[in-house]
């Protein structure tokens, strides 16, 4: 029952990872008693379970996921939503309106129009049906302000960090609210554009370097340096006024 990799090794699709008493984890498959990688990524082994943390992947809907999507089309009794996945999602009108939906009374495009962005939860999804969304929970619904960015969906856990350490650090350092859509869409809302951009730069760095270690320290450093650059800009102004 050997394994054929070192921890955190970069593997390509088809590379043999383990044989025998191991279990198939994410982005791996079993054939003829051997476990192979199915995506490019970093391998690790957790309790006999061989996982590949993919460096490139797309989002596959899962019920319960919080995602960020945009309205493609306003339909007769709901909206078609692009969730950056192979499948487009549906949002029913009766889910958004807290009262029964009557087509003759309600104009759907006044609630959400094409191009509007929403934070939503996947209510249901299976192989045979496109995902259904819901916004009937606190924190979900139409996005009115902030900046949006897109990352590779498998990087989201890295951005969250161990027990949310990474994301809470970025939040406190930049004073931004950040909503991580599991489909890779991220909403950053701060008091100033500069703060939002700093948070986005930090997230971008995590995405690009997610497969390296010691990342938390580098992100802390980046945030400190960039924040130092932001602050002097605010301070000189009162001094100039004094003179």
């Amino acid at each position: 029952m050997p394994t054929f990799f070192e921890a955190k090794q970069l593997v390509t699709p088809g590379e043999i990872l383990a044989e025998g008493e191991y279990q198939v984890g994410e982005n791996t498959y079993l054939e003829g008693g051997k476990i192979y990688a199915s995506r490019i990524g970093l391998v690790d082994c957790d309790n006999k379970k061989v996982n590949v943390v993919a460096l490139r992947a797309f989002y596959v809907p899962k019920p319960g996921d919080i995602i960020i999507g945009s309205v493609i089309e306003v339909g007769f009794n709901g909206w078609t939503i692009d969730i950056k996945s192979p499948y487009t999602a549906m949002l029913r009108a009766s889910d958004v309106l807290s009262r029964p939906f009557k087509p003759q009374n309600d104009e759907l495009s006044q609630v959400l129009d094409a191009g509007d962005l929403i934070v939503a939860k996947i209510a249901s999804y299976d192989r045979a049906h496109d995902p259904q969304l819901t916004v009937g929970e606190p924190g979900l619904g139409k996005i009115t302000r902030g900046q949006l960015m897109r990352v590779i969906p498998t990087k989201i856990p890295r951005i969250i960090g161990r027990k949310g350490s990474m994301i809470s650090m970025i939040k406190t350092e930049t004073n931004c609210q950040i909503i991580l859509g599991l489909n890779g869409m991220i909403l950053v809302t701060g008091k100033t554009t500069a703060e939002e951009e700093l948070a986005m730069a930090a997230i971008k760095k995590i995405e690009d370097e997610s497969h390296t270690s010691g990342l938390t320290d580098r992100i802390t450093q980046l945030l400190k340096e960039e924040k130092a650059k932001l602050e002097p800009k605010v301070e000189p102004n009162p001094e100039e006024n004094k003179q």
Binding site: G14, Y29, F58
Partner: protein, 250 residues
């Protein structure tokens, strides 16, 4: 004809372009060259220059082509008008339609179409310069682009040809050998699963020669596979080296 035959391979067994019988042309591969595509690759195989862009999985248009139980794979092999000495009409020719099908079928065993029902992927192969063996170089490049796009794969697919020139079995034929030689055997191969996904033969070979040609082609595939893996990893290794990380490479 005798004149030509003497040119193709000399007494020492050196071929017209200076290679030995079992020597490949030089290869260069790069991954992620097209930011607009979900996955992309650029391969130079001798004088062949091939660019591949992969899109998807995404909704299939027109809708009736989608399958409720699996992902459909669309593949388009196309030669640029300037890829050959005589201008090639940009309209898809009989040969290109056939090669598109052949390449699609050689890639399909490497994928998991049942995982993403009702979707499709598009593989666009553009031959910028052709010098014999473009179908093999296209398969190599397409497999790289698919891996780069994050579509799950059983294995990378590598392709290499072998054939007969002047009664000698040689590997990786180029244009002149392909046209004047006796036979051409392109082979696509999944190295880790030890499975052949494409085997064609153009010309006449004895059973022994065919076996020898196939083995040579598979050996060639294995050599190309090493470079393919390298190319995929290179995209991410650069970042790693910059940060002076431990290098967990074999």
């Amino acid at each position: 004809m005798n004149d030509k035959q003497e040119k193709l391979i000399d007494k020492k067994g050196i071929r017209l372009d200076g290679r030995k019988a079992d020597e490949l042309r030089s290869l260069k591969m790069q991954v992620g060259v097209l930011p607009n595509a979900d996955g992309s690759a650029y391969v130079e195989h001798g004088k062949n220059k091939i660019l591949v862009g992969v899109f998807g999985p995404r909704e299939v248009h027109p809708k009736h082509l989608s399958r409720p139980d699996r992902m459909v794979i669309k593949c388009r092999y196309h030669m640029a008008p300037f890829s050959v000495p005589e201008r090639k009409s940009p309209a898809p020719s009989r040969r290109e339609v056939e090669l598109s099908k052949v390449i699609r079928e050689s890639l399909e065993p490497a994928l998991f179409p049942e995982l993403y029902p009702r979707t499709g992927i598009d593989v666009y192969i553009e031959v910028l310069q052709a010098d014999g063996g473009t179908r093999c170089a296209s398969i190599t490049a397409a497999a790289l682009a698919i891996a780069d796009s994050g579509i799950p794969m059983r294995d990378l697919v590598v392709a290499c040809a072998a054939g007969k020139v002047e009664d000698t079995v040689v590997v990786d034929l180029y244009d002149a050998e392909d046209k004047l030689g006796a036979a051409d055997v392109p082979v696509a191969y999944m190295p880790n699963l030890n499975a052949v996904t494409l085997l064609q033969m153009d010309g006449i070979l004895t059973p022994d020669e065919l076996e020898k040609a196939m083995n040579m082609a598979i050996d060639g595939c294995k050599q190309i596979y090493v470079m393919q893996k390298e190319a995929l990893k290179n995209k991410y290794m650069n970042v790693k080296e910059e940060n002076k990380e431990e290098e967990p490479e074999e």
